[in-house]
């Protein structure tokens, strides 16, 4: 069966520091991968998605970037965090074409 791992679960970072959140999927090949951010009262905002290694689509221009160095690895990064980057970040995978997305347990990021 497929599983998705996302870490760390919680993170407190100072403003201006870098960020790296990692997500890996097991038990499947060539999945679509997604990064979402969930801010209070604002639902889930799609940040990036990827259909293959090195292929990244950005939905919202902002202070973040994503990379997919391996088939089942998806990384969310920032060179300098802003206070507004605080939120709950969720990684997900899916097959597209009507199949559902499966979510990791999320990372609670607090920028101080």
């Amino acid at each position: 069966s497929q599983t998705i791992h996302q870490w760390p679960a919680t993170l407190v970072q100072p403003v201006g520091s870098p960020l790296s959140l990692e997500c890996t999927v097991e038990g499947t090949s060539n999945p679509n991968l997604y990064w979402y951010r969930q801010a209070a009262g604002r639902g889930l905002q799609l940040l990036f998605y990827s259909v293959g290694i090195g292929q990244i689509s950005s939905e919202v221009p902002q202070n973040l970037s994503a990379s997919r160095p391996q088939d089942r690895q998806f990384i969310l990064s920032s060179k300098k965090l802003l206070l507004s980057d605080s939120g709950f970040y969720l990684c997900a995978w899916g097959w597209g074409g009507g199949a559902e997305a499966f979510f990791g347990q999320g990372t609670r990021l607090t920028v101080v």
């Binding site: 597209g96 009507g98 559902e100």
Partner: protein
Amino acid sequence: AQSVTQLDSQVPVFEEAPVELRCNYSSSVSVYLFWYVQYPNQGLQLLLKYLSGSTLVKGINGFEAEFNKSQTSFHLRKPSVHISDTAEYFCAVSGAGNQFYFGTGTSLTVIP
């Protein structure tokens, strides 16, 4: 482009009463529709999905939803709620592409 509107941000309901959580979507093409549930500080879990065929879809935990193309709606219902149904509920849409778009969520609170 696709989008989802969840009309109610908070829905309080007494235990064993029925509930309906509303979702409307916007799309110029055929869509796939989903309802997810999120418990505090966790990822999202799929409740049910509509791909095609019967417009009444049954999911887990006694939930069901009805796809209404003319009204572009996909409302979630449960005839009798339990305390354990207290959670955040998200409606989502995807199309022929690989993106999933979520609504802002509805916080369901079941009152004893």
